[in-house]
């Protein structure tokens, strides 16, 4: 049951109130019922005892003297809405019955001596009523007691019945009163609760209005937490945190777009200027050839940027299908170094691979190859003539570590923290004008997609190292 908080609060309040009222009403009804019934039964009992006092035992026989002046028997004699009584002796012989009963009988309840039993019944004329069954020993006549033979006290059973219309009417009047009071209370509760809920939820409306006012280009506007109820402060804080993170992400994206535009506009300007200069006057064929060659080089460079950008976007969008397979690292590094080896040898760059044979990772071969060849190319590009490139690998702590080092790095330790940022590049790279600063960003993303992590560091003697931590091949990870 989600829906609106407002209706939920209202519903819960009203349901709770109804439940409380229902329990209260039932208890009240039971108490009133007991009190009414108690009064009725006490009166019935008194009538029964009064009649019983008129019953005597004389000469071993029970006689009912109901006709006397002492007892008002009019209620039993009236033709309309009469009351009833019936008297039996021990043997079940009817000794007396009220005239209203005619020849009929009243049902006898399960009473014992001196403990009357009350029960509801339908009176002989059909009205609802209640009866008391009273078992007693009638008093013994005096002269009888003076005779020599011992007197045996006999028992008699008296049933008196009377209609309950009176208390039924009182009871239903009370129930009606109780019901309407409860209904009124619930209605009032609904009204008050609606007001209270509206008042209580006002800060939410205010927050909603503040959130609605936030524009995509103005994400740095934090929602002021003051004036908010204490319960909402954590929500506002989380929202502000979220906004800050969003703003950071947006800023990165904006910076990236601007950088991408810059990185593409500059070579484009290069091609245009080169060709326009070439066309500005009649030239020797060699000059045209030079301009065309330069343009082709720039286009090749742009093509790299564009495909790197595309790859980066795919990696970040999680659109690269992975086909993990065990990749032996030593062979892979050697294979990927081969195309770079010739150029490096000419510059007297020494290359050493200390990756142990048998070290294997489970990874998508193409993606891993892209990361490794980018790192090798980067190392070859930035190491000095006569410098040294070293690749080392080991299994440690259930992970595979692969490190790429090259000498003659001119970055500071602080700058080394930026090498994985898109389009960031050190001054040396800028001056060379070749690298567009996407290579290491690609490496970082690719390694992340492979489930690993890439870090970069510079030692005080200028050795630049990129360390990859990769998950091992599940089966044959050498320990």
């Amino acid at each position: 049951m989600i829906g609106s908080l407002r209706s939920r609060l209202l519903l819960l309040t009203v349901a709770g109130m109804t439940l409380v009222l229902a329990v209260f009403a039932l208890a009240m009804d039971a108490a009133v019922d007991r009190s009414l019934m108690g009064g009725f039964d006490a009166a019935l009992d008194a009538t029964a005892r009064m009649l019983a006092a008129e019953v005597e035992q004389k000469d071993g026989k029970i006689e009912a003297g109901f006709g006397g002046e002492e007892v008002d028997m009019s209620a039993f004699n009236r033709p309309e809405r009469p009351e009833y009584y019936e008297l039996w002796d021990e043997d079940g012989q009817v000794l007396a019955r009220s005239p209203s009963l005619g020849a009929g009988d009243l049902p006898r309840g399960a009473a014992s001596l001196d403990t009357p039993a009350f029960e509801a019944l339908a009176l002989p004329d059909g009205r609802p009523g209640r009866s008391v069954t009273f078992v007693f020993q009638p008093k013994v006549e005096q002269e009888d007691r003076r005779s020599q033979s011992p007197v045996v006290a006999k028992r008699a059973t008296l049933v008196v019945a009377r209609e309950t219309a009176d208390i039924d009417a009182k009871r239903s009047a009370f129930r009606w009163l109780l019901g309407s009071a409860a209904a009124g209370t619930i209605l009032l509760t609904l009204l008050v609760a609606a007001l209270v809920v509206r008042q209580g939820l006002r800060p939410l409306d205010r927050l909603a209005a503040q959130i609605a006012a936030i524009r995509e280009e103005r994400l740095d506007t934090a929602i002021p937490p003051d004036g908010m109820p204490r319960e909402m402060t954590p929500i506002v804080q989380r929202l502000n945190d979220l906004l800050r993170r969003l703003e950071e992400a947006f800023q990165r994206e904006r910076a990236f777009t601007a950088d991408a535009a810059h990185e593409l506009r500059t070579p484009l300007a290069g091609i245009r200027a080169t060709l326009e200069v070439a066309l500005s006057r009649a030239r020797e064929p060699e000059e045209y050839q030079g301009a065309l060659r330069e343009s082709v080089e720039i286009i090749t460079h742009m093509q790299t940027i564009v495909s790197d950008l595309l790859m980066l976007a795919r990696l970040e969008g999680g659109q690269v299908p992975l086909r993990p397979e065990p990749v032996p690292l030593r062979q892979e590094v050697e294979r990927l170094w081969r195309p770079l080896a010739g150029q490096a040898e000419k510059r007297a760059v020494r290359f050493a691979s200390n990756v142990p044979a048998g070290l294997t990772v489970a990874a998508d071969r193409e993606l891993l190859a892209m990361a490794v060849s980018n790192l090798l190319a980067n190392a070859a590009e930035y190491t000095n003539d006569g410098g040294r490139i070293e690749i080392s690998g080991r299994a440690a702590g259930g992970k595979i570590e692969l490190a790429f080092s090259n000498t003659a790095c001119c970055l500071s330790a602080e700058q080394a923290q930026h090498v994985f940022e898109r389009f960031w590049r050190g001054d040396a790279a800028r001056a060379a004008g070749v690298h567009c600063g996407l290579g290491l960003a690609l490496v970082e993303r690719a390694v992340a997609v492979l489930g690993g992590e890439a870090t970069a560091a510079v030692s005080p003697d200028g050795v630049f190292t990129v360390r990859l931590v990769l998950p091992p091949a599940s089966s044959q990870a050498p320990e």
Binding site: P267, A273, E276, G433
Partner: protein, 224 residues
């Protein structure tokens, strides 16, 4: 007219420098911010073409330093950043003009020429001294109604003298503003080109245009 190009993308730097040289400017070029600032503060440039994103020192920092040093060179910012905020920031820091990459070479040359004219307070692209007329946009020279054909170097020398018409211009000034000092180390080359110009411009029976001011230099004008 002497121009400094500070641009870190080598192919673009080469093309712009070549285009400007062929248009008759003396050009120095560098791809490094620090070096650019050094060039700009040690030489007297008429126009500086400045990229914004540079290694070492970025373009706006260079601009700020130049302006706080009171350097009069006209600065044309050349950049891939094209938002209004970027342009306003550059112009507010004292740039004279702004060109977004990629650009047409023609436009770059026209803007540099306009800035160079402004350096000599000449707004009219057509310079007239007596019956000598120089159309700087088309780089054409007329003596009366007669067209005079000049080589790019001769033209650059004449234009520089014409911009400062009436003033005495020293050989050093000419050497610094017209020829790339890396290409010709000999200041005699100025005298040689003055001689070429005289041969092409002077007409018998008309008053001379180019006057030698002994020990100080040359002056262009109807009268000495």
């Amino acid at each position: 007219m002497r121009v400094l190009v500070v641009e870190d993308y080598p192919p673009l730097q080469r093309a712009v420098a070549k285009g400007l040289r062929e248009a008759g400017f003396a050009v120095d070029a560098t791809g490094d911010g620090e070096e650019g600032l050094w060039y700009a503060t040690t030489n007297d440039y008429d126009v500086i073409v400045l990229d914004l994103m540079l290694p070492g020192l970025d373009g706006l920092a260079i601009l700020k330093r130049l302006r706080s040093d009171g350097r009069p060179a006209h600065v044309l910012i050349l950049t891939a950043k094209d938002t209004v905020a970027d342009r306003v920031r550059g112009l507010d820091l004292g740039a004279d003009d702004y060109l977004v990459k990629p650009f047409a070479l023609e436009e770059l040359l026209a803007r540099v020429r306009a800035l160079a004219r402004r350096a000599y307070r000449a707004k009219n692209p057509c310079l007239e001294i007596g019956d000598l007329r120089i159309e700087t946009t088309k780089q054409r020279v007329y003596r009366g109604r007669e067209s005079v054909h000049l080589t790019p170097r001769e033209y650059a020398l004449l234009e520089y003298l014409a911009m400062r018409a009436g003033e005495t211009v020293s050989r050093t000034d000419i050497w610094e503003h017209v020829y790339e000092f890396t290409s010709e180390a000999d200041s005699n080359v100025v005298d040689v080109y003055i001689a070429y110009l005289r041969r092409k411009l002077e007409r018998p029976g008309k008053p001379p245009l180019i006057h030698t001011v002994r020990g100080r230099g040359y002056s262009l004008g109807a009268a000495p």
